[in-house]
């Protein structure tokens, strides 16, 4: 794979103003100094618990709102944060987002045909507009909704969760994007359907060389899907590197905590107890230095002083920890 980077985030931060009277002027540190690169055709998993900033990261890339600071480079050109949120069709065509909740990501008053023909109408050239119906049927077949005639004129509430998520994916791929941002696409689905959705995304990567940012809290799912994993906690990336390394030889204590907390049926009852306490920190005044220090069993004096800088554990595998 050519080492061309499709997109890169450099020290990107996003702070939201706090919408309450008493805490006027304070900000929520949703994302701080996040940097990573995404190669063409690569699947990068963003793993973390709620409030870790993974969805904010995806929204910045999808340009739903601008970042507060830091650079965001797409196809070599720096993206001007000012104009995000505007229509800028060219960019929208290249970067698409799949949302988590299959029930609320399809407009209940539109038929499947209206939903899936919309992208063609917006982005399609003149040819795109003609023969819409047949193009939508092809799209339905490509996501396994056979026979398309049975689905094309249905309303979302007439489909199951799995089928709806397939319509979502069909809509995402209809514009032939270069980058897919999947925000926990399978967490609301039953186990049996999850696999087919994940496999479909992997196939698209193989056939269309689509680079994907796969967001999840399920470490095992991330391992199945991704080439590289970035572990996020309280808005910052703690560890990033090739999947097998990050999971196999986890370096950062938080990654180890995540791994030991994840269910692992094959281990059965031989499990040591989790050694942690406390809760996810408030993002309004996050802990000083390394944000995991209040819960870290290996806490050192330095950890609460300053944010640890990147350390290369081995080839391409970095962690932010003084250990």
């Amino acid at each position: 794979m050519a080492d061309r980077f499709i997109l890169e985030l450099k020290e990107v931060s996003k702070h939201f103003p706090v919408r309450s009277f008493r805490r006027f002027g304070q900000v929520v540190h949703a994302m701080d100094e996040v940097s990573f690169r995404l190669k063409e055709g690569e699947v990068l998993a963003l793993v973390g618990e709620s409030g870790s900033g993974k969805t904010t990261t995806a929204s910045i890339i999808a340009r739903l709102y601008p970042q507060t600071s830091g650079k965001f480079v797409f196809e070599g050109k720096e993206i001007d944060p000012g104009r995000s949120g505007k229509r800028n069709l060219a960019y929208r065509k290249k970067v698409q987002m799949i949302f988590q909740d299959p029930f609320s990501s399809l407009n209940p008053t539109h038929t499947i045909f209206q939903i899936l023909s919309r992208p063609y109408v917006i982005h399609g050239d003149a040819a795109g507009k003609k023969g819409l119906r047949s193009r939508v049927q092809v799209l339905l077949e490509s996501v396994g909704l056979e026979p398309p005639a049975q689905f094309i004129d249905k309303f979302p509430h007439e489909l199951s969760g799995g089928q709806r998520q397939r319509v979502n994916i069909a809509r995402t791929f209809s514009v032939e994007p270069l980058v897919i941002l999947a925000d926990e696409p399978t967490s609301m689905l039953d186990v049996s359907i999850r696999m087919s959705i994940m496999n479909m995304m992997l196939e698209y990567r193989e056939t269309r060389n689509v680079s994907t940012v796969y967001i999840t809290h399920d470490l095992a799912g991330a391992r199945y899907m991704s080439d590289r994993i970035a572990v996020m906690y309280a808005g910052m990336i703690m560890e990033i590197g090739p999947t097998e390394h990050v999971i196999g030889q986890a370096f950062h204590p938080y990654t180890k905590l995540l791994r030991s907390a994840a269910p692992a049926p094959e281990k059965g009852l031989k499990r040591q107890k989790l050694v942690t306490h406390g809760d996810i920190p408030s993002l309004i005044d996050p802990p000083s230095g390394c944000r995991f220090h209040p819960r870290c069993p290996f806490k050192m004096e330095e950890c609460s002083k300053r944010i640890p800088d990147w350390k290369e554990v081995d080839a391409g595998h970095f962690a932010r920890c003084f250990l």
Partner: protein, 333 residues
Amino acid sequence: MRNSESSKQVLLEVRNLQAGYEVKKGFVGAVDDVSFCLHKGEFLGIAGESGCGKSTLAFAIMNLLRDNARIRSGEIDFQGRLVSALSGEGFNKIRWVNLSMVFQSAMNALNPVLKVGEQLCDAIHAHRSISAQKAKERAQQMLQLVDIGPERYDSYPHQLSGGMKQRVMIAMALVLEPQLVIMDEPTTALDVVVQRTIIEKIQELQQQLDFSVIFITHDLSLLVEISDRLAIMYAGKIIEEGPAQDVFSHPLHPYTHGLMNAFPSLSGPIRRMGGIEGKPPDLLDPPKGCRFFPRCSQVMDRCANTYPPEILFEGDHRVACHLYEGKGDMQNG
């Protein structure tokens, strides 16, 4: 098996339970002819996808079916007594005293306008006539047991985190020292780390207070790890049941096999896994034969029209599937 084999005294037995919802077009049989038994101190996991009837089963056992939901037939024995026949008040005496429940969404399982401690005392006063002071002490003792400081007695639900709220629910479920606690997806809404702490707390309390647990969830990987026995439900029926490790290592029913193959693991080689195509049947008029036949990879013509008998294998591992007809160790049919 955690405690000794000999304590095989049966705590709860469900026989051919039928429960569901009355709707305009008829009766939705969410739980269709389900039977199983639970031994004292045992941890039974019930797994199944959404809509398979596992929550209805829990509510039926707790006699909490409301509005248009009701038990149509079947019997439930608890400590030898036929509880399914008890009237509302009759059941009220044993509910929460002998069997209690932890609900799924910790978010609004607690009354937002009442102090947490008061809600605990409510449960105590409902069944025991003891002084307010004693009840408060008992409540604080329970909060201590689930690692929540007694000072939290006076806080309101919205002041607690998700994990804390669920621990309060567990404390509330155990406050009258019941013999059985049914847990309906208690950790689904929580983050991975908090979920693990809750699970460990449940196991620790089970050691201490020796109550038995029915743990209901769709997260099979979690269930396999923590339960003694495992029952897999599909479209209102238990299609396979047996010791957890047994069911995990060599699943019998094609559906269980599909499920076990459908969640990626943290270790071992990454191999392409297949999902199960299609979707579960409509429970208003379910198919005649085995309900999984439209999605089953090893479907035979028999499957479509006759419901498979239950075949028992050694180690108390049973399955309802035509593939194993005549192969079981103890054919109980």
